[in-house]
């Protein structure tokens, strides 16, 4: 990673225009692409070749952890302080199932949300992108494509004219 990253931010007014532009940018050989949209745009991830997220595996690990913690806790508690309730089994899996189920879900859900935030680099208070003049529209009704510099090989005028050519409504230089 470069010390200070920068890129060009191009504005489009519909998800379709953004997707078309992203396709053309990929075809033209740009690799460090990102997009900023007010809602998730279907098919965009494939165009940008974003890696498949691994949240589901985190969720699975969380679930297994939750179930094990719950089972071990309940078994230990009954081992440490055994109470004979009418001769019923101490290690009653059917009775332990409820808390096991709850903790499976609790650990799984929280770990997935934490992993999502962690991998997204959130929470953070500020980001250089927020200084871009028109970027606030990315949460309203505009769709932005960002071409970042590729290890120092970054020709601002060339990329700028390329972006205008593929239909950008505005092009802005931004730090990343």
């Amino acid at each position: 990673m470069a010390e200070k990253s920068c890129g060009l931010l191009a504005e489009f007014d519909s998800p379709e225009a953004l997707k078309a532009a992203a396709k053309q940018a990929r075809a033209a050989g740009y690799r460090r692409l990102d997009a900023f949209t007010p809602f998730p745009v279907e098919g965009l991830a494939q165009i940008l070749r974003l890696p498949k997220p691994s949240i589901s595996w985190v969720g699975l690990a969380g679930g297994v952890t939750g179930a094990s913690v719950a089972l071990l806790m309940q078994c230990y508690v009954n081992y440490d302080f055994p109470i004979n309730v009418g001769g019923r089994p101490l290690y009653a899996l059917s009775a332990f199932a409820v808390v096991m189920f709850e903790l499976t879900i609790l650990f799984s859900a929280l770990s997935m949300i934490a992993a999502m935030l962690w991998q997204n680099g959130l929470p953070r208070l500020n980001h250089p992108l927020f200084d871009a003049k028109r970027f606030h529209l990315a949460s309203k009704d505009r769709f932005f494509l960002c071409i970042a510099d590729d290890d120092g090989r970054f020709d601002e005028t060339e990329i700028g004219s390329f972006l205008r050519q593929i239909g950008a409504k505005s092009v802005e230089f931004t730090a990343l």
Partner: protein, 451 residues
């Protein structure tokens, strides 16, 4: 069934317009006066709750009408009622997200908000009922010097795990869905205080495609977990009853019967809130008659399933021919508390039949009225399940009766304030309808129309 291929949202509105309209509600609050009046009313109820709790903690649970044998009454009855209401929020949000019923997008945010505060109201009741609430921490497995542990083979211990898990997961799910909207509000905010508030709460969200991808996966999977969670939580609540031997409780129909009844009462309250908010904030373009129609259909369907539970409960009793069960049934139908049984039947199922007609579902006031009846009917149902089973149990010598006292009522009405105050604060400070999901749906509809 009516044809559902049409659009839910009118397509003649722009994505930016919807964004401005919805972020505008917290940023430039349009109904200050009405909000203040509602807040005043809610605060009075909350004050009543605080006074009731102080009275309870100083004088003990004897100020309620509970006794032996009716040692579970208002506290557990309202606990079940509130928790049931809460479940509809999760079902609307999570189940309908997974089935891609996109009409939910206008309703999920305030339905989830309703869930959070309803669960708080529910969760506080068992704590109040403890008698010595300062020993609440005994419910948690911590290495006590006394060497004892909580008993995990008891449904009463399952309860605290279920409710706390439900509250935590609902809160996390609600907040995850809220992040993009807080970012939208942050970008529209013009005053410093709102910029700081939304700047911090939106966690620096910037709508990057890579972020959306991970976010969608986490959100959908959490939704997938939330649905079985709802079913498990209310089934677990029903096990508090069904695992005991009390006639009228000891039945295998209880878990599904409770879950469906919960969805039924919850959808009624969602309808009440939807209709109120839409007229309050002029949101007819987003919460349309089509939404009310769908809510009405769901209400009717869950209502009929609950009715099935009623019928099967009677069948169960008659089929078992167990004398105590038969006696409880006759107590319910003709005994001292028969008014709760027939009241529940009447309020739950008679006005509901109007929902077979499309015009009744699509008219705000009629759906509102039916929903209020349902909330009332389900309240009576929970009353009858508690009291009619307990007041005459196995031994005639232990028969007694239950009459709610002033403090029973004041605590109950107080929890309505405990629900309304944070709910009103929430609609004041956060976007009460999911902005990005509404925009997504609107864009899809516009695309199908044009192309």
């Amino acid at each position: 069934m009516t044809d559902r291929s049409g659009d839910v949202l009118p397509t003649d509105q722009s994505i930016g317009g919807v964004s401005d309209q919805l972020t505008g509600i917290p940023l430039h609050f349009p109904a200050e006066r009405r909000w203040l009046i509602a807040m005043l009313f809610a605060s009075l109820l909350l004050l009543m709750f605080v006074i009731s709790v102080i009275a309870l903690f100083t004088r003990g649970v004897g100020i309620w009408g509970i006794n032996i044998p009716v040692n579970w009454a208002f506290a557990i009855h309202n606990y079940v009622w509130w928790l049931g209401i809460g479940h509809a929020g999760t079902l609307i949000s999570a189940l309908l997200l997974l089935t891609q019923s996109e009409w939910r997008n206008s309703l999920n945010r305030f339905a989830e908000t309703m869930t959070l505060f309803a669960v708080v109201c529910a969760g506080i009741y068992p704590v109040l009922h403890l008698g010595r609430p300062w020993y609440l921490y005994w419910m948690f497995p911590y290495p006590a010097t006394m060497g004892v542990w909580p008993q995990f083979r008891s449904p009463l211990e399952w309860d605290i795990w279920a409710v706390l898990t439900y509250l935590t997961v609902s809160l996390a799910f609600w907040y995850t869905g809220l992040i993009p909207d807080l970012a939208a509000a942050r970008d529209r905010a013009t005053t410093r205080i709102w910029q700081i508030f939304f700047g911090i709460t939106s966690l620096g969200w910037r709508g990057s495609a890579a972020h959306w991808l991970r976010w969608s996966q986490a959100y959908r999977l959490t939704a997938g977990l939330a649905v079985p969670l709802v079913v498990s939580v209310h089934s677990e609540v029903s096990l508090l009853f069904a695992a005991g031997q009390i006639p009228g409780w000891h039945s295998t129909i209880f878990p599904p019967y409770f879950v469906l009844g919960a969805a039924f009462s919850g959808f009624a309250v969602v309808s009440i809130i939807a209709i109120s908010l839409r007229s309050w904030f002029g949101l007819n373009n987003l919460v349309t008659d089509e939404h009310l129609d769908l809510l009405g259909v769901v209400l009717l369907a869950t209502g009929l399933m609950t009715a099935y539970g009623y019928i099967f409960e009677i069948f169960d009793t008659l089929y078992s021919s167990e004398p105590h069960e038969l006696q409880t049934l006759s107590d319910r139908l003709t005994g001292a508390y028969a008014w709760t049984y027939w009241g529940a039947i009447f309020f739950n199922f008679i006005p509901l039949q109007a929902l077979w007609w499309r015009s009744a579902r699509r008219t705000g006031w009629s759906l509102m009225l039916i929903s209020i009846f349902v909330a009332l009917g389900m309240w009576l149902e929970r009353y009858l399940i508690l009291v009619t089973s307990l007041y005459r149990d196995f031994l005639v010598s232990s028969w007694s009766s239950f009459t709610p006292t002033f403090w029973d009522w004041s605590t109950y009405f107080g929890t309505i304030g405990l629900f309304l105050v944070p709910f009103l604060i929430a609609i004041r400070v956060i976007p009460l309808i999911s902005i990005f999901e509404t925009k997504e749906l609107l864009h899809e509809e516009q695309e199908t129309k044009h192309g």
